[in-house]
């Protein structure tokens, strides 16, 4: 549920623990990851402004939208932008990620970009260097929160852009450093899963404590439907979808939640899943017959006395070693461990002494197993 996701981010991490991290992923079938990202961003911002969250500020690393877009977004959601330089900083990786414009500026062809950079952010000119990115983020964050103990949140709007310029291991290193930094309260990022290999998505999921996937309501399977059906499904998928979240809890269990979302003019709205249950990848196979017992059946079952249950009632266990008389046969049992010698029930006074050769035979193979029955 989007509410619990935002609440978990708001609560932040405990001392000495990695900060909670959220991966938002989507695909072409339901491309609304960015709407979810903006929703989480605005929710967290309102928590920060209201003072309800652990973090006192937000550092936004903007790769795929300009800083002015985010300023407009926050304004449209009713969040006060005038005081924004007190609680938000934007690391602008959108305007000039590789520093080309800056270099061209030196030639005198482009106007000065510094007027673009607002007071709320700094411009990043080299996104390939993840170490520099990390230090810029931390520097911005520390600048936001005055005290050394206060924490700030970090939002990265597109991991895909980061991965274009830097290797997976350096991006992974950046994220794990962010999570383990004492002043970072939570981190969240957006990823388009179909742009990457499975391994990349798996690595990012490995590093996050919550994975939110945006999925279409019904998967389009090629070739199995009519064109008109397909068209209506596509249309449906463009207006709503499933929001599926996996939480990794502190005790090691996984909680799975499912919601539906709708795209409207004003943004995205969430509501609880209509009719479908959360489909767990069940650890148990589904069986088609009933394994449960009714009340009456349970009572009956507990009343049944099973055949071996009334043997050995406190009497010492006697191991039949062939020398006792057969009159005690009623209460005798055979030992489990390798038998030494046994006597066949001979007739009259004679005895047959039998030494077993080897342990290969089943322990009770040369006697009637029903001898032990006490019915």
């Amino acid at each position: 549920m989007a509410e619990s996701v935002c609440r978990t981010l708001r609560d932040g991490g405990l001392e000495g623990e990695h900060a909670p991290a959220l991966t938002i992923k989507d695909s072409i079938a339901s491309p609304f990851g960015f709407d979810v990202f903006c929703h989480v961003l605005t929710q967290l911002s309102s928590f920060i402004l209201a003072g309800k969250s652990q973090s006192r500020g937000l550092v936004l690393v903007a790769f795929c939208r300009s800083p002015s877009f985010y300023a407009d977004l926050l304004k449209s959601k009713g969040i006060d932008v005038n005081s924004s330089n007190k609680w938000v900083r934007i690391l602008d990786c959108y305007t000039d990620p590789l520093g080309w414009k800056f270099r061209l500026m030196g030639v005198g062809n482009l106007r000065d970009l510094s007027c673009e950079a607002s007071s709320t952010g700094i411009l990043c000119k080299d996104v390939k260097d993840t170490n520099k990115l990390y230090s810029s983020i931390i520097e911005l964050g520390k600048g936001l929160v005055a005290e050394a103990k206060s924490r700030f949140s970090v939002a990265i709007d597109s991991v895909d852009q980061m991965l274009r310029h830097a290797s997976m291991s350096s991006v992974a290193g950046l994220f794990s450093n962010l999570r383990s930094h004492g002043q970072v309260s939570n981190v969240f990022w957006l990823l388009h899963s179909d742009l990457h290999e499975v391994r990349v998505t798996a690595s990012l999921e490995y590093m996050s404590s919550m994975v939110a996937s945006v999925e279409p309501l019904q998967q389009l399977t090629n070739g199995q439907r009519d064109d008109s059906d397909k068209a209506s499904l596509t249309e449906q998928n463009l207006k709503k979808g499933k929001f599926h979240v996996r939480f990794k809890r502190r005790n090691g269990r996984v909680r799975v939640m499912l919601e539906e979302f709708h795209i409207e003019q004003s943004g995205i709205s969430f509501k609880s899943a209509s009719s479908e249950e959360v489909t767990n990848q069940g650890l148990l196979p589904k069986v088609q017959f009933s394994l449960q017992l009714s009340e009456k059946e349970q009572i009956d079952r507990s009343n049944v006395v099973l055949p071996f249950e009334h043997q050995g009632n406190g009497k010492p266990i006697q191991i039949y070693d062939g020398r006792n008389s057969l009159m005690e046969g009623k209460h005798e049992t055979t030992s489990v461990s390798a038998g030494n010698s046994e006597t066949n029930e001979g007739s009259g006074g004679g005895e047959i002494i039998y030494y077993r050769d080897s342990d290969d035979e089943m322990p009770d193979s040369d006697e009637d197993p029903d001898d032990d029955l006490d019915i």
Partner: protein, 358 residues
């Protein structure tokens, strides 16, 4: 004459005159192998005694749960208590920090008899003629509980390991992020393992070593996309292990490897375990398992080391359950709630006990 021999056969095995003198914490196994404890008594029992010296144990992590850390913690603590040198490698920048989370042995002043009978009876009653002999088959529960000399301790996860154990034995900590080049790490392991060479006559083993490598293919390590290099590291490590008296436990998240490499790595292992998270608030599981509230994960034994033997020791049942109880007793327990599985467990320990004196 009444036969009073301990073995029922007319053949008797020629036992070598001198039993190898072993340091505390080591135990003789079948076929000339020596075991050391994993730190978890129930796991030792399932594996037939513990981890075999010279073997490579691999644990497949679940990317959604940190249960492999529990296994590593118990393994490392057990080694420190038995004064066995330890090498620990992890992807974090400061691996020493993990040492602070190692558990201490639970102080078991009262010898609580583990009442297997009542555990069995939950849910399913089986009338079983050998039930009353059950007490004979578990010699482990009796005996003195002296920490230093006990082969395997029960650990209390709430109590950190006492400083004296950490100081007494210098723990070699390596950060995997530093090793861009895996050959450096391999050399490091090689020098560590040279302290415990294995000689053929195996007459006395003074020390055994432990290597714990956590999350070997974690994404923040520089070599994590060099799959062939990592595989060749594992192969080289395994070959060095064979000629030394040590056990290496290596954990890795299989979801981060490509499927073919995942399979290759699994084949490399001598003993293969995997841990899996349990979904929260799963009603079906709650109905099936009696201790569902206390359970946090599943442990699966895929493969057990076969050293000096051709006998296939495949674990017959796919699931065991483990729990780290969240309330009160935080000891690590391995138990099975289906009574048929605990029956197999007792038979297993009997079978493996049949060829040597425990």
């Amino acid at each position: 004459m009444a036969a009073t021999k301990t073995r029922g056969s007319s053949f008797s095995r020629a036992v070598s005159a001198a039993t190898p003198s072993l340091a505390p914490g080591l135990k003789c196994g079948p076929n000339g192998t020596v075991f050391l404890s994993s730190g978890i008594p129930d796991l030792d029992k399932i594996l037939g005694g513990g981890f075999t010296l010279g073997s490579l144990v691999m644990v497949m992590e679940d990317s959604e749960a940190p249960h492999h850390m529990l296994l590593l913690r118990n393994f490392m603590s057990q080694g420190l208590i038995h004064n066995q040198p330890l090498l620990y490698a992890s992807p974090s920048k400061d691996p020493k920090g993990f040492l602070g989370t190692l558990p201490s042995p639970a102080s078991s002043k009262d010898d609580k008899p583990r009442d297997r009978d009542t555990d069995q009876e939950k849910g399913l009653r089986i009338a079983w003629q050998y039930k009353k002999y059950f007490g004979e088959n578990n010699p482990n529960f009796t005996g003195h509980r002296d920490d230093k000399h006990e082969y395997c301790n029960d650990f209390d996860l709430r109590k950190p390991l006492e400083r004296q154990f950490l100081i007494r034995q210098h723990v070699d900590c390596v950060s995997l992020q530093d090793s861009m080049n895996l050959s450096v790490l391999l050399d490091h392991c090689g020098t560590f393992l040279s302290q415990f060479p294995r000689n053929d006559n195996n007459s006395s083993i003074t020390t055994a070593g432990r290597i714990a490598i956590q999350s070997f293919c974690a994404p923040d390590c520089g070599y994590s996309n060099m799959e062939w290099h990592m595989l060749s590291f594992i192969r080289s490590l395994k070959s060095v292990m064979r000629s030394s008296n040590a056990v290496a436990v290596l954990t890795f998240p299989p979801s981060l490897l490509s499927p073919s490499f995942c399979k290759r790595w699994q084949h490399m292992a001598d003993t293969l375990l995997s841990v899996k998270a349990i979904p929260d608030e799963d009603r079906e599981l709650a109905q099936l398992l009696t201790g569902y509230q206390d359970m946090v994960g599943l442990l699966n034994v895929h493969k057990i080391a076969r050293i000096n033997t051709q006998v296939n020791l495949e674990y017959p049942f796919p699931w065991s359950f483990f729990c780290g109880c969240s309330t009160g007793n935080a000891a690590f327990m391995l138990f099975c709630s289906l009574s048929s599985i605990s029956f197999i467990l007792s038979c297993w320990s009997k079978l493996s006990a049949g060829s040597y004196d425990p």
